[in-house]
Symmetry: C2
């Protein structure tokens, strides 16, 4: 089992390592075309290459996987290296093991935090980076009741397993099935941001068509999913974004995706917000649900907009400032401050329930209701993808997805 | 109907008013003995006088009630006056009306805020002060399906009706029955503080014997009820109080009532708190429930003590500072910040459910498990009671209860 074999390495010298991230891997056989997915409902956009058949992947099964790994916590640019990891042959699969050809895996902000050592999930070191991604089942171990079949697309069941790798042998229980008729970019990014938005819209307040949801960080990856899924649920969204020079362009983009209203953080904190509610009182109820990924005064200002029995769900803390709420709304308006973490939800719910949610979300992806804007780059160009993913403005619009097709 | 007739007064001149709070009412016929209820489990303590029979109260039914009223919002000392309010005769009771001889009513902090105009419930002015209190049914209007019978003890069903009055005629639906075998001091104060503690211990986290609850303001009226009811539920309590010179005396008093641990706010905010948990780890689980009536850094420090899935319930904001919580615990520990307001609970639950809770609490009062320390004063000595109720230290130990027996 490659993954546990890798885990058992105690010294980096056990890796047939490559020292520079920028190195082009000599044996890479995956597509190098980079395609930028822009605009909304851009469901058809892939990464310029289609996955091969499981038989083709099986025939070309290598003796080593390519992976982006880190030995210590620290700055991702310094810590991550693209290396070869020994890979078992398909004929030696254990009873409960499956061989997976990884197809694509994104670089999410929490992946960065994980390498930095500041994230709540800390895989034992050395570790393969990445928590999200999609692969194709190539072969299944000789176990009678196998759930998985070659050709199926799978995602990791739990986080911290390391998705930034070209090939992966692990226990079949480690994988969940997702539909394999999606664009690679969407399949690779289905399990974190869309699921977070989905659960937050379903699990905290029973909402009805016409209800209002307010969120900050509205142009974040989760924020964009909230906008699109809320539109599908016929909910109104009030979307808070940071003030900027090209604010009307951003507003246009969010409205095109389905945002009902876009306001800046500056506007949110001003007396004009009262006028805003008055002006839209005929079409806009006070929000009973708010999403916070910022914290600080921005979150306090979101709390101020919540109606009676309002619930604010914190799923991020970009400003690194705490959430501050006056005591009155807790007592007299039954304000609730809650939190959400997709990883915990995944750990606490049956795989079947999660697969059901993924199927439901896939319906929205197929219909074009829900899309994520991604930029694909071959795993061998990891350094560039990493840099791009850390450029705040870029990251907010284009998620970097490593391709290994 | 006295209460609505009073409400219809538009000018204070319609009252046969008394100008000075200190005036002794010439026609008062209630006991003047003041008894201080001290110590714990002091269930037997009343106020030196027992209620008369309903027949005796009926025979002496006056043409005016004595009441502490206010015409405008402002400083209670300046706004409240003890006056005569016209009172209908027992023979003229409406079909759905009952005549109640008020027996005792406390001065709670929220009553003070109501007069100041800073409370969420604002009765129309002029208004009779007071929200809590106990009375005896003296006569029932000529309605067949009357729920109430002479001799029963009742409390107001909703807040803002004005309990600081000697006699009261109102709709029977305005009253709830409570057991009439309790000490007057306990019956008069059963519906706010004990019920708040009861609901907060039952409605937010499913607790089991041995679980831990943490609270600030532990020597407040609600805090003392929490300590006693938690002990009855076999829960451990960590009780935070403000540091003071006589801290060991206070600690002794709280421990005598059933507090498991008492810590000062200063200690709570120090590195010693980690040692505290280590030291008691064998007997003390991390708290899953916390109660906050302070806000500010104190509340933040309480949040820091909460275990996984901890819930902090805010029911007061004594420091006038907001609740500040870092984003991490929301996301990774599933922290919940909630609020509780007894008035809302009362409005949203059936009278039967509330009467059931009052019966359950009465069991604890009868057995001595739960007691409130009160100081009784005749309604005519309202000014003194008001002053005493506003002395913070005093109020924290002895609730002022107006007697009208």
């Amino acid at each position: 089992m490659a993954s546990s074999a890798f885990r058992s390495f105690t010294t980096p010298s056990a890796w047939r390592g490559m020292s520079a991230l920028s190195r082009t891997h000599p044996t890479r056989r995956y597509a190098t075309t980079t395609t930028v997915a822009t605009g909304r409902a851009d469901n058809s956009v892939g990464f310029g290459a289609s996955p091969k058949s499981p038989a083709e992947y099986a025939a070309a099964w290598p003796s080593a996987a390519v992976a982006a790994v880190y030995e210590k916590h620290g700055a991702p640019e310094d810590m991550l290296r693209v290396v070869d990891l020994p890979l078992a042959s398909l004929s030696s699969l254990g009873e409960d093991q499956v061989a997976v050809k990884m197809l694509a895996a994104p670089i999410n902000p929490s992946d960065i935090n994980q390498v930095q050592g500041t994230y709540a999930v800390k895989p034992p070191l050395p570790a393969v980076g990445g928590n999200e991604g999609v692969g194709m089942v190539v072969a299944v171990g000789p176990k009678a009741q196998s759930r998985l079949r070659p050709g199926q697309w799978v995602i990791p069941r739990s986080s911290g397993q390391g998705t930034w790798r070209s090939h992966w042998i692990a226990k079949e229980s480690q994988f969940l099935v997702i539909p394999n008729d999606l664009a690679l970019s969407q399949a690779a990014t289905i399990s974190v941001n869309p699921c977070t938005a989905w659960r937050m819209l379903h699990d905290f307040v029973p909402l009805q068509a016409g209800d209002t949801v307010i969120q900050n960080g509205a142009n974040s990856a989760v924020g964009l999913c909230v906008i699109q899924l809320a539109r599908a649920l016929k909910l109104n969204t009030v979307n808070v974004v940071r003030d900027r020079e090209d604010i009307s362009a951003l507003e246009g983009e969010l409205v095109a995706r389905g945002a009902t209203h876009v306001v800046t953080d500056k506007f949110l904190g001003s007396f004009k917000m009262a006028e805003f509610w008055k002006q839209h009182s005929a079409s806009l109820c006070p929000p009973r649900l708010g999403f916070n990924m910022v914290g600080g005064p921005n979150a306090t200002n979101v709390i101020r907009q919540l109606g009676n029995r309002g619930v604010l769900v914190t799923y991020g803390g970009m400003s690194r400032e705490p959430v501050v709420a006056p005591t009155g709304p807790f007592i007299f308006n039954d304000l609730q401050l809650r939190g959400f973490w997709m990883t915990r939800w995944n750990d606490e719910h049956a795989p079947e329930e999660r697969e059901r949610m993924l199927q439901d979300i896939a319906v929205h992806i197929r219909s074009g209701t829900l899309s994520t804007s991604c930029q694909g780059r071959p795993l061998a160009e990891f350094a560039g993808a990493l840099t791009a993913s850390r450029t705040a403005l870029q990251a907010a619009t284009f998620k970097q997805v490593l391709t290994m097709v």
